[in-house]
Symmetry: C3
């Protein structure tokens, strides 16, 4: 494992992830309340958060360290990220100053910066996040970027382990609807995680919401190494037949990326993309329901699912704390 | 004392409260800076806070523990609390996910959720708070709900102890004016505390602002056990005659609960309900002035009172820290 | 050093500042991770912050203490500071309650409260900050007031030490442009620091932006004691000839203090007041560029400067942490 950065599961081998999750389990079984004594984690949130905000603070505290939170635009200046522009609008500071300054105050930095959502190639290249990452000379954690959410995926991998979900089983990543076009970070990251874990991965989505080819190619390379597979379909019945896991996620149209209007037109015809119990008719009886949260009840997912026995969403969320403690320990502890 | 929850003084016997305040005093006299080492307190604020926000963080730190703060809508998604609704408005997450997730990250949770202020029966039933409380399997603290603010009342009880205010003395809880209709949590909680402490409690308020019968009945039951009494009046001179304590508080019309307009019409005729020195003409010479803060100077209370010798509002506020440390110790410490 | 307050470099002798910076260096060289164990710092921000917010939290943590943050108006009530007014507008609490209450929860308090920006004499008298300071009976830190930012200046002094900038060398404090009229706190504080350190201080600014005579007189008194000097000019070429340091800062018109409109008219004619490499034509070849941050790139300062070899802005920012740790240690540690 790269001793300095946790940015993308794809930066690690399958074995390294397995080791990291073993560390997570060890820290659960035998707490190390002084492992990170004296260490300071800086947390920068360009976008809202609940789980990430709470679990990173709690995780540092459980390991004896401390953290501080910066939310640009809330009690802190807005930060500009474009290069070369005259800063005569609302942003009072540039990330080229703000980020290295914050890094200089702490021992590790976490950054959350969602996709711009205007240009797909720009976001796929992780332009904004990488520009900031290049300014940080401390251990760095991706707390969700344009196309990645490795902390969520690490936690989800652990959840699948905890539930003894077999690597070869069928894992359906399904688009669900939402009032707005949401970023691709979680579906992209989930796709890669499931492929890397060796699943038969099926991306189920309506026309207009196909995964970008680059992400599919990346996931297929991981699947090739792990013995898994990756395919896309819009046939819900076929996709869910024999499924062991249904992972639901909202995301914006990739065909009309950046056009809120065309996206809205498209999804106006897709209210049926809300997970209900009848989706599971041909799935395995013990098929699990996963979602990274937050979730819009009775829009993306019906109450009957979230309150029913298939749902493991609270377990996934709790594993955010468990998995991230291993990441923090690996990045910051003097002893392995 | 229920080892797991601090939600309402009425859940405890008088003796249990006395013991809890003895613990508060002990922690003042002999600090225990490692008592809660490794423990994490989650603090969820659906409404603004100053004393509660600062004192719970400071209290955990003084006992060696740590805390994190979540303020839905400020850097965190808004949380929906209604059941069964399609979540297609602004709230991105439901309390049914958000609250148990946060509880799973910490060792104890504090929640502040003010009254909806629309339907009195709904608020009297603590519908919103109880719905959240039912989702928490960790020690839980009520940091002010629709009809209760037990941390304030515990601190106020200690303030009365510190000042050696005799249990049988006359305690006047008086309505004072405010630009808006405020919730009933503090007056309800204060009424119960004073009755439970054994005072001759007089609720002084104009027509339209009577205490709900349920709250009076609950307080009278406490008074019966403690040797105190509870009555209401709109006669200021009579109420304050012989008073040992004047506790001022703003609250909305109970006759027109939920109607900002009718409440405003009513209070437009009541500008005289601002505490001034002349209110104390027939009170005991050493009559104390109490208020939970925040207070609108020269609206609810004149400067001459807040800056004068009767006021103990800063002592009350400091006792928030003192009293809450005892609550945290009781809920989280392995040793009594 | 006054054991209780860090409000203005002018409250200290040159020798006391040198000692304080020696302590800062000692804490860098030989960390004291338990020096402030059990101590609590309250941080009150009436205005936005990035460096101050992060560095004070990090500094307390590095010394083993903890901190809490209050940002009036963000999750906390707005606080009124005027005396004697009926509080029937938006502020729900007065600083006369809020500040002493917060002070009673912690071991030291930091307050940031920018200038009102309406009346120069009012701001020069530090009316708002002093009103709050008079309510605090704990160690107090000025985290930027109307006319002072001693933490920034202490860090800048250390930066000049680190770079071995000779006391007698020429130090140019230059006005630069900005979309809005900014406060005088940093230029006032920098002027005093440079004079106190013994520099040949030249304030370079266009007509309409002269330093208030009171601030010049105060700085000249410091210069007289240190062997330095202080003068003002609007002649850029002359000012920068032989300069060893160019410290750029934005501030509002002092001639038209409080008039955003007249200030805007004035600065519309001054777009040339943006630091570029050609400003340094006659400066010393190793002339340094300083700025307290945040800075508007390509408005106040060109990219070529901030990304070039002259800039020491990140070093200045990091020294905020280093310098403030010495302040915290001095105010809160039992041992020197």
């Amino acid at each position: 494992m790269n001793a300095k950065r946790f940015l993308d599961l794809a930066d690690f081998t399958r074995e390294e992830i397995v080791e990291l999750l073993a560390l997570a389990q060890r820290l659960q079984d035998r707490p190390e309340p002084r492992a990170l004594a004296g260490k300071i984690l800086g947390l920068v949130f360009f976008n809202p958060s609940l789980r990430t905000l709470a679990s990173f603070q709690a995780g540092m505290a459980r390991l004896g360290g401390t953290s501080f939170v910066i939310t640009p635009g809330h009690g802190t200046w807005q930060l500009e990220h474009r290069l070369g522009v005259p800063m005569n609008a609302t942003a009072a500071e540039h990330v080229r100053e703000g980020i290295p300054v914050l890094a200089s105050f702490c021992d590790a930095l976490g950054i959350r910066a969602f996709a711009d959502g205007k240009d797909l190639a720009y976001d796929l290249a992780e332009t904004n996040f990488n520009a900031m990452a290049s300014l940080v000379d401390k251990p760095l954690i991706n707390m969700e970027s344009a196309m990645n959410h490795p902390c969520q995926s690490l936690a989800d991998w652990k959840t699948l382990d905890d539930l003894a979900v077999a690597p070869r089983s069928k894992f359906v990543l399904s688009w669900v609807t939402h009032p707005r076009a949401l970023p691709l970070a979680v579906p992209a990251s989930t796709l890669h995680m499931a492929a890397m874990r060796g699943h038969e991965v099926v991306v189920l989505r309506p026309e207009g919401y196909a995964m970008p080819p680059q992400l599919l190619a990346k996931a297929r390379a991981a699947a090739a190494a792990s013995g898994g597979s990756v395919r896309e379909t819009d046939d819900r019945a076929e996709a869910l037949a024999g499924a062991q896991v249904l992972y639901a996620k909202e995301w914006g149209s990739t065909t009309y990326y950046g056009s809120a209007e065309k996206d809205a037109d498209l999804r106006a015809k897709l209210p049926d993309w809300q997970v209900r119990e009848d989706w599971f008719a041909r799935a395995r009886p013990d098929c699990r329901f996963m979602h990274c949260l937050p979730v819009r009840r009775n829009v993306a997912v019906a109450d009957e699912i979230l309150d029913g026995p298939r749902s493991v969403v609270l377990k996934e969320a709790h594993n955010r704390l468990v998995a991230q403690m291993a990441v923090l320990h690996r990045l910051l502890s003097a002893t392995p």
